[in-house]
């Protein structure tokens, strides 16, 4: 079918979901009440707590959650055909991500805009907070590991992209200086900066930077692995630098890139009238391929449901919510935005990359290839869409690569930084003094573990390991979402409302994730993966812990007693 038809269908479904389902959530499940002043007003301080116009807030929220994850996941998952991936994206966005992102904002707003970590302690209990810390620890470890591979693969495949990425930072800093020095509107300097960035793409095409000369063919120091090591060295150093020097300027440029990329994809699809050449369900998968059930659900996390978002929802967005009804727009619609990104990725990898179905099957011949080439496929697909708009293909490829790398890099940057704090917090609880007090030690731990994971040999197929790591990342992401959903569910229950809308995605998530974990564990043990197996086992234990904790808390909430005081009086 033509890609544009898929866009239309999904668009209608998303609209219906927003109109009716989020309305139901707002009225019946979350009971939004505009007469209640939000913490942005009651705790207003001009720095963290600032009531913000809902459109602006949506923009902030969306740019904060948008990343490389809704891109890579679907790019892998279309291996099973566009059907399963699309259905999961649509159903997940409407019934899971929407509930989750929306609910995370509301439960935070009702509890003085505290973040989800603190909320687990308040709404469930202190043990749940430890669980939260551990899940986040693994989430960050895995996200840093997989994104380092994503970036490295792109660097290897697109040496022309290295220069623009390197130039991104001085451009961003220069824009910042100009803005504050002249105190004038930032629009023109920012546009100039972005234009310069894209001009540097042309420069990058003239001056590709590749490590092929110094790298080995195989073994530890392949080209990709050297990039991975360099990346982690960089993030270790960058984590010591104040956020406002490096991270925030990069983030600023990325937010521009996001809108541009969305525009390019949207317009490119519209103009090009590409056809989806991938099959709806892929029946040509090799015999030993992993099945879509349950792995689909952990391969696509962001774009269907992602726990990461609750960190943003409860971390910054809830502190700036002007009135409660805005949460529906910002949260639910934000989830739809992510779903749209995921849709874009599906289109890129099913309609954009190749012109015929046969070619597509060649590109997606087996799971290992699908995983390893996923990001490249997305990049090439987007390049094709850009090509529809007249951009020369080679340049468009670099453009798409720069977009993905930029986003993945900022996520890594933030991820390593956060991981350092989490390591310190866990060390504090476990009373490991030297680590808890030392930024350097905790920094080393934060970087070393994902580095090891990223460098794991792939059992012959680099792509395969990446695919597996990606699934593990997906599972931890889902578990985080599960914990957030549990918090929301408990709160809804304590408020004497029907939590079914929250429970269904929660149960589904948890079941699928646990199933996937067991599946993979058996595979790892069978194949003697002595790093991945214990990792999987630990995460599995966390998943079980989550189930038990959530079940207990829900039961207590329903029976009316509880270990924690509800912050608000139960409503009728």
């Amino acid at each position: 079918m033509p890609a544009i038809v898929m866009v239309l269908i999904v668009g209608v479904l998303f609209y219906l979901g927003y109109r009716y389902y989020s309305g139901y959530l707002a009225r019946r499940v979350y009971a939004l009440d505009d007469s209640r002043p939000t913490p942005a007003h009651t705790m207003r301080d001009g720095v963290d707590f600032i009531p913000t116009n809902k459109h602006v807030l949506f923009g902030h929220h969306f740019t904060s959650v948008a990343g490389a994850a809704p891109i890579v996941g679907p790019a892998i998952a279309v291996f099973w055909g566009w059907g399963p991936a699309l259905v999961w994206v649509v159903v997940g966005t409407i019934f899971a991500a929407g509930v989750h992102d929306f609910g995370a904002i509301v439960v935070s707003v009702r509890h003085k805009a505290q973040s989800i970590g603190t909320l687990t302690r308040e709404v469930i209990n202190t043990r749940a907070r430890v669980l939260f810390l551990l899940i986040i620890f693994f989430l960050l470890t895995l996200v840093n590991a997989v994104f380092s591979v994503v970036i490295s693969n792109l660097f290897v495949a697109n040496p022309e992209a290295v220069l623009p990425i390197l130039l991104e930072i001085p451009f961003a800093i220069a824009i910042g200086q100009y803005i504050y020095r002249t105190r004038s509107a930032a629009l023109i300097p920012s546009l100039i900066g972005v234009v310069l960035l894209y001009a540097s793409i042309l420069l990058g095409q003239e001056l590709p930077i590749s490590l092929a000369g110094i790298a080995a063919e195989d073994g530890l120091f392949t080209e990709r692995n050297i990039w991975v090591i360099l990346l982690f060295v960089y993030t270790f150093i960058a984590a010591r630098i104040p956020v406002w020097v490096l991270l925030q300027p990069r983030d600023y440029i990325n937010s521009h890139q996001l809108f541009i990329a969305l525009g390019v994809i949207g317009l490119g699809v519209l103009v090009g009238w590409d056809t989806i050449v991938a099959p709806m369900v892929n029946d040509q998968t090799p015999d030993n391929s992993p099945s879509w059930f349950p792995l689909l659900f952990v391969t696509i996390a962001c774009g269907a449901i992602s726990g990461f978002h609750s960190l943003v929802s409860s971390g910054t967005t809830s502190k700036q919510l002007d009135k409660e009804s805005d949460a529906r727009y910002v949260g639910y619609f934000g989830a739809i935005g992510e779903g749209a990104l995921a849709l874009g990725s599906i289109l890129a990898c099913t309609a954009g990359i190749v012109a015929t179905t046969a070619d597509w099957h060649a590109a997606y011949s087996d799971f290992g290839t699908a995983s390893g080439d996923a990001t490249s496929n997305f990049v090439n697909g987007v390049a094709h869409f850009a090509g529809n708009l007249g951009v020369p293909e080679a340049t468009a490829v670099v453009f798409a690569a720069v977009v993905v790398i930029s986003f993945a890099a900022t996520t890594m940057d933030t991820g390593v930084r956060l991981q350092r704090y989490i390591v310190q917090e866990i060390a504090e609880i476990a009373r490991i003094r030297p680590v808890a007090r030392s930024l350097t030690l905790s920094g080393i731990i934060a970087v070393l573990i994902p580095l090891v994971l990223a460098l794991l040999p792939g059992g012959g197929e680099d792509g395969y390991t990446f695919g597996v790591l990606w699934q593990l990342f997906g599972t931890t992401n889902q578990l985080t979402a599960g914990l957030a959903l549990a918090v929301v569910a408990v709160w809804v229950t304590k408020s004497r409302r029907n939590p079914i809308a929250v429970l269904v995605p929660l149960v589904f998530l948890v079941v699928m994730t646990t199933w996937a974990l067991i599946d993979n564990l058996l595979t790892f043990v069978a194949e003697g993966e002595w790093v991945l197996a214990p990792l999987d086992a630990i995460i599995f234990v966390l998943a079980v812990w989550l189930i038990v904790e959530a079940a207990l808390a829900l039961r207590q909430a329903r029976s009316g007693s509880g270990t924690s005081e509800p912050v608000e009086v139960p409503e009728s």
Partner: protein, 92 residues
């Protein structure tokens, strides 16, 4: 270009600038404020301690620092959008 058209275009451009500022630049600015705020906290704590009656053993030596601390504090709360800070007789 006719004057009316020009004014309209200029109006759109200004709106675009403002939108861009709100949507994209504001996050950055807020981030900077948060960082700066964390640093200023110590200064403010010192000032507030004095007004709360905690004795400063080097009060005389640091007398000439007081105007700058107060001015900093004042500038800070002005930046934050509060034109007056009446708490505890600290400022204004």
């Amino acid at each position: 270009m006719s004057g009316r058209l020009r004014t309209r275009l200029l109006g759109w451009w200004r709106r675009l600038e403002r939108g861009h500022d709100l949507l994209l630049v504001a996050r950055w600015r807020q981030g900077l404020r948060k960082e700066a705020r964390r640093e200023d906290d110590t200064l403010r704590a010192l000032l507030l301690l004095e007004s709360l009656g905690v004795d400063n053993p080097v009060a005389y030596e640091t007398l000439d620092v007081v105007p700058y601390l107060v001015a900093d504090f004042h500038a800070w709360h002005r930046r934050m959008g509060r034109d007056e800070f009446g708490d505890a007789g600290v400022c204004c």
